[in-house]
Amino acid sequence: MWGMIRSELIQKIADENPHLYQRDVERIVNTIFEEITNAMARGDRVELRGFGAFSVKKRDARVGRNPRTGESVEVEEKHVPFFKTGKLLRDRLNGK
């Protein structure tokens, strides 16, 4: 599937900001994603109005099963990243 990857995003920002060094643009883009991940690792939420919100969801401990052997295994409680699309982006995706 076609799309955009991190380096292409950096290139677009660099093209729009010829007064910035490429390596600074890289640091800027990386800092943004790093901040979001760090916040979730602390259990914080990141709300980017219009785009969406990143949060952490708790998955309770459960008894799972090894699909190969059928044996029961204890699965510990864990926390997982979650993203909810913002209203503006959701509307734009649907041509509103």
């Binding site: 076609w2 955009m4 990857i5 640091r27 979001i36 914080d44 969406g52 864990k78 993203f83």
Partner: protein, 100 residues
């Protein structure tokens, strides 16, 4: 475990500290990143940020829904929804950071 909510302001503050641009320009760059990502997604493209995660657009078919209060059937139009799949690195860091 934290309970704070970060916003665009916190992200631009981080950019300001990291690169030393003005606060104003830092905020504009944060906005530009979100704008480019949104534009790609609206064009139906996938946005893949290595070691962070992948945003992709899925087409949902039309279906008949139901108003849960009145029980009345309502047609739901076909629509596009955005899904985010976190990278293994992000999942590991979030799991480790929130472990009791």
């Amino acid at each position: 475990m934290g309970e704070k909510t970060l916003t665009r302001m916190d992200l631009s503050e981080a950019v300001f500290r990291e690169v030393g641009l003005s606060r104003n320009e830092s905020a504009e760059l944060v906005e530009a990143v979100l704008q480019h990502m949104s534009d790609s997604l609206v064009a139906g493209e996938q946005v893949k940020i290595s070691s962070f995660g992948t945003f992709s657009v899925r087409e949902k078919a039309a279906r008949v829904g139901r108003n849960p209060k009145t029980g009345q059937e309502v047609p739901i139009q076909p629509r596009r929804v955005l899904t985010f799949r976190p990278s293994h690195l992000m999942k590991d860091r979030v799991a480790a950071g929130n472990k009791r």
